[in-house]
């Protein structure tokens, strides 16, 4: 029973990791950009939600209605104003610029909010849980968060393959110049993709902040979790990313059970093993 409990908790947190990963994999898919500041943007979203909930005295989950559009706007502006200028054949500029951005966000947050760890208070729902089997408990909040992760992944999948915006994303991803010839403004398409990515980041950031303490320095570790989920699941596959997040969450939960110091290490080691035996990931869709 104890192990079932642990695995279940791992699966539920895997949903959060899949949300970290979804935004990362979305922009990589559309514009081959790996955003090193992704984790710091998740933390930024948590702080934006902190301000919103304190200023308006609302529940963190309600603050989603404001934080998601705010982050999407930031994403659009960031892409139009800065990141579009780095895209090209050379790999170095986007990497270095997003790396610089990561350092800027971290130290900006440190300057504004100090290094104290914060937490979003979601009230009574935080501790509510129900017993699914005898001795196996599921928290209401982790369950909501997992359900939202599944909805986000399904939503992105539908958006990608069933809508006009998704078609524009796929067309630009396949061949940028032909997409341009067909009348697509790729700068706008890229900015839309980044806006969408940061909308997902906003959801992930708020659930992260309700679940655990956060401070300005925790961004890079979130980037790494998201990245590991993408690689474990296989590039370009949204459902694979969810599976990757779950595998990572379960490995960490099992590792933590063996020895608290092994929680993060267990996740990294599973990632490295998968990289060694199946570098294309478990459910790959695109190569290269």
């Amino acid at each position: 029973m104890q192990w079932l409990n642990i695995i279940l908790q791992g699966v539920l947190i895997g949903g959060l990791y899949a949300m970290f990963a979804a935004g990362l994999s979305l922009i990589f898919g559309v514009m081959r950009l790996v955003n090193i500041a992704h984790g710091d943007l998740i933390v930024l979203a948590a702080y934006v939600s902190l301000i919103v909930t304190q200023a308006m005295d609302i529940d963190p989950l309600v603050s989603l209605l404001l934080v998601v559009p705010i982050m999407a706007l930031i994403g659009y502006a960031l892409q139009r104003g800065l990141l579009n200028r780095t895209l090209g054949d050379d790999l170095l500029p986007p990497l270095l610029v997003t790396f610089g951005l990561s350092i800027i966000i971290q130290n900006g947050l440190l300057e504004l909010f100090t290094a104290d760890s914060r937490r979003l208070q979601a009230g009574a729902i935080e501790v509510q849980a129900f017993e699914v089997l005898q001795g196996v408990w599921i928290g209401v909040l982790p369950l909501i968060q997992f359900a939202i992760a599944v909805v986000v992944i399904a939503g992105l999948q539908t958006l990608f393959y069933r809508t006009a915006v998704g078609r524009a994303f796929r067309a630009t991803s396949d061949d940028q110049s032909v997409a341009q010839l067909m009348g697509l403004d790729t700068r706008h398409v890229f900015a839309m993709a980044m806006a969408l990515s940061l909308a997902v980041v906003a959801i992930a950031g708020i659930f992260l902040a309700v679940r655990t303490n956060f401070d300005p320095a925790i961004g890079p570790a979130r980037l790494i979790f998201g990245f590991e989920a993408v690689i474990i699941g296989g590039l370009g596959s949204m459902w694979g990313t969810l599976a990757g997040g779950i595998i990572l969450g379960v490995s960490q939960a099992i590792g933590a059970q063996i020895d608290p110091g092994w929680q993060l290490l267990a996740g990294h080691i599973v990632f490295l093993i998968i990289l060694a035996v199946r570098p294309q990931g478990l459910f790959p869709k695109v190569t290269g």
Partner: protein
Amino acid sequence: MIRVEHGTPSSRIGVMLIAATLAILAAAPFWGDRQTLRLLAEIYTFVALASLWNLLAGYAGLVSVGQQAFVGLGGYALFALAILLGVHPIVAILIAGPIGAIVAVPVAALIFRLRGAYFAIGTWVVAEVFRLLASQVSALGGGSGISLPAAVVIAMAPSRQVREFETYWLALSLTVIILAAIVMLLRSRHGLALTAIRDNELAAQTNGIDVWRIKFAVYVLTAFGTAMIGALIFLQKLRISPDTAFSVNDWTAFVIFITVIGGIGRIEGPIIGTIVFFVLRQALADLGSLYLLIMGTVAIIVMLLAPKGLWGMIAERFGWQALPLQRRLVFEKETRG
């Protein structure tokens, strides 16, 4: 008769200037106070780290944000060898290099499976794994770290002054050796291949260069140098902990900013970048975390407006090179005797 000429008038002046500067720097213990020596030694370690990262990212196209893995590995190798096995610290620094290279082989085999930008994050995961493993080693202080025992420090040299001179010269000579090794590598046949890879990887491959093998070799060599410098850094600090040894800010963010600002893909870039970095640091030291924010902003602006960095701008404007690295074919009449 065709021969390859590396030098230009500017590089001949450059080499003389460098030789003169080196002579002055080598004599620093006779003209500088303790503070100056410490600062200079720190500058040398950053020149070395940035030059190694430049070789990796600027020439071989391997953008790593995880070189702190090897800085920390070198540091821990020094502490392990000195504390657990009683090895003399200077010998331990020399052994740290091969340890770094040996560890780099399986690491490279694994993370070379990741392409381009994902490679960068992969290197970061490796550094995180090293950091977490280091905090599990209780013989070396676990998560809270350990100081180099006084007995080990005293065994290096009888007096504090002699020890400080020793570390200073060690830092200077190690950096000069690393820079000289990079220059020699770039002037060799393999250097030509590396420059070709830097300019166009596909074209390099079509011309018969084994790109994977060269990149692999550069990764391992860089790990060798980085681990030695890591050991040296923590000999200066006399204390190590997982968070300082595998710090992404100290050993990667600064190093990347230095290289980008100075000029990536050019040997002179990291040196110019380090000078700019330390001038900025002395000027902005009171600003705390704002200082990192400003460095990040400067690096982004340079990357967008002058992607070849300060030295790149100078070199293109005036055609200068400080070191004889270019290749020009000189046609000579054959003299038959």
